[in-house]
Symmetry: C2
Subunit: 407 residues, 2 copies
């Protein structure tokens, strides 16, 4: 299995164009509308928020995905307004976004309306200004190096643009997976949402693409915790256009599938970690490695529980080696656990063994937490289950950012 991480984004794979523009949805005057399109027909898959309150663009994208069986080859999106909790008008607006793209920039590539995904991020509960957004979509200029313009158009409270790409070689052909994302809180303040758009020039059957995406999301976006709140708009799309490919579509049986999944996993993982690093108000990036759990699912529970603990996050801010909070969060995670076996390390120092504190030097333990990257390792000594989660510290700045968003 050989994949090569490269610097790139959603237009790095062959046959994809993208672009972004400004239509006035954001008071700041920053870019707020964008699109990605494959010049040729493609297959697609998607993972959406599990929140029962789903925004209109999620419902319309799901509808398109189902009606075509996974044939989307374009994504049209806006920031500045999430088109969530907007009732039947919201659904009509989301459909109109796809319609305006099909009639406008998409017409050059003959993209039918139902082959278009839609995504929105921003304020909840306010109807979209479709006059502005409609003409913004109409005016989009898509190019083969437009990936960076698309990223700028999707950002809300993000402080840095987020992109990743990787290549692998199959049958002598270089294949690329690339992606872009936004998100700085699992749900950012009123400016909701994590959005991730991934493209690849591999040919992939829609059924297998959905399986591969599910696996990649499970180990990446589903393992980051910023504030534990889950947005109404969270979305990850992948589009595979086969532009680099001569063989049959990947369907999960071929040898190249391992490399494809590794590349997809790399791109999703990098995008997810970039979000955790950019957590609102955060100053430190936390990696939580869990081993020795009874099952993989238990390891995931423990890792996410620790990543989501306000007390652990606060302790990381202050470089306080407060392992009691880590043990607590493991204890209430729902995973099987024997308190007398648990082992906890911060950085390269083991603070707890067999559930009891080692004779560690508190000053040295604290020094393991003073950098911008903090590593927490937990071994439950029960089985083979392993998982990694990522998060960030909780800071007074996070609270300030989120305490006066709409006023």
């Amino acid at each position: 299995m050989v994949i090569v991480p490269i610097s790139g984004n959603c237009t790095s794979p062959k046959g994809f164009l993208a672009g972004g523009g400004t239509c006035g949805l954001k008071a700041s005057g920053r870019p707020d509308v964008g699109a990605i399109v494959s010049a040729v027909p493609a297959t697609s898959a998607a993972v959406f928020t599990k929140n029962l309150v789903k925004a209109a663009p999620v419902l319309v994208s799901l509808e398109h995905l189902r009606s075509t069986g996974g044939r989307q080859r374009a994504i049209v999106f806006n920031s500045g307004n999430a088109n969530a909790a907007t009732g039947t008008q919201g659904l009509a607006d989301a459909r109109q976004m796809a319609g305006r793209f099909a009639d406008g920039p998409g017409s050059k590539y003959r993209v039918p309306v139902d082959e278009i995904f839609v995504a929105s991020t921003g304020v909840i509960g306010v109807p979209l200004d479709m006059v502005r957004l409609g003409s913004g979509i109409q005016s989009l200029h898509l190019t083969a190096d437009g990936g960076n313009a698309a990223i700028l158009a999707m950002m809300t409270t993000d402080s840095v643009p987020k992109s990743a790409a990787a290549t692998f070689v199959a049958h002598g052909i270089s294949v690329t997976v690339g992606g872009i994302a936004k998100g700085a809180a699992m749900i950012a303040p009123h400016m909701a949402t994590m959005l991730a758009f991934v493209t690849t020039d591999a040919a992939v059957s829609p059924t297998y693409l959905q399986v591969a995406l599910g696996r990649a999301v499970d180990d990446s976006f589903n393992m980051i915790v910023i504030d534990g709140d889950m947005s109404t708009n969270d979305t990850c799309f992948v589009i595979a256009n086969g532009a680099a490919w001569t063989g049959a579509p990947l369907d999960g049986t071929q040898q190249e599938c391992a490399d494809f999944e590794a590349a997809l996993g790399h791109v999703c993982g990098e995008l997810a970690r970039a979000m955790a690093r950019d957590g609102e108000g955060s100053t430190k990036f936390i990696t939580i490695d869990v081993r020795g759990a009874a099952t993989r699912e238990d390891a995931r529970r423990v890792a996410r529980s620790i990543a989501g603990s306000n007390l652990t996050k606060s302790a990381v801010l202050g470089a306080d080696p407060n392992w009691g909070r880590i043990a607590c969060a493991a204890g209430y995670s729902g995973a099987a656990l024997d308190p007398n076996r648990i082992e906890i390390a911060i950085g390269d120092m083991t603070l707890v063994r067999g559930g009891v504190a080692t004779l560690y030097d508190p000053e040295r333990a604290s020094s393991q937490m003073k950098g911008a990257e903090v590593s927490i390792s937990v071994n439950l000594h029960l089985g083979d289950g392993e998982a990694t989660a990522w998060g960030c510290d909780l800071t007074p700045e996070y609270v300030r950012l989120n305490s006066d968003y709409t006023t």
Copy 2:
């Protein structure tokens, strides 16, 4: 059903004595050891943390409760050290606490070791100083008005002492339920734990006492959310000594049971709300009323999810009527929900009806959140399920308090 709330504590019911002292477990020199005892035999019940990492005093109390079938009539406790994650030494220390009480202040009332509950709160992972604590227990002076001294001995980060009491009349006899509690975070910074000790001079069968306590805890301590972290030491004890009672013990069949449960519920509710009001660093007390859920359990899920949402808690701090965050938290609560039926009010203003924003004045909506008490009401319009949860805002001060506890 007539109960009368009164000002009182764990020594308000007849036949109970309590006291507190200082033995040097706390660097601050504040009181750190205490006990409550019934002068006559009694029945008991208890609810403990569901965290799989249980502190030694929880394990020893559970052992005593089971071996006697609910006959505890004394509680010996300390603050300043949680005796958690302390291995076999911790278990021996917790047993020794009971032993020292039985040999010391308890000997006057002939309290056997296994009729004693034990509780600890404070730093995790540090062995108890049993030399100090042992002589502290030995020197305790218990009196019939010692409830307030006992409260002071259990406080950690609490800014106010917490007590409550209520009376009702059965067969012409006045019966009292009283209680004391500590807790200012569901798990406070390293100084873990919610502790609540309730006494009554009613006579109650142990089986029914456990049922009644379970119901009271479900609607009180289990409905407050401060930071969502669950302590290794959370404990609620109730002791019923029958000192006011001439009839047969309450066993759930008598007419007076309704009043008894109302009094017990009142005491637990007041203690729980006092904890939420005293949430670390908080400036506002939040009440979340949920109606119209498909089931009572769903209503509880939604209420707790909103109370636990960092984004909602941050919005309350800033008096930001950000109902999108409330809808989101309802959506990911796990409860059945139709986004097109949800109704949300803050104070007496309805902001959302049928899932869509009403034409409300944002300034007026914000003014509903500027006081020290904020009320959020959600109606799911699905069924009859109702529940109420209580919480507090999230503040920069909470983060600061919890970022440098041990260093």
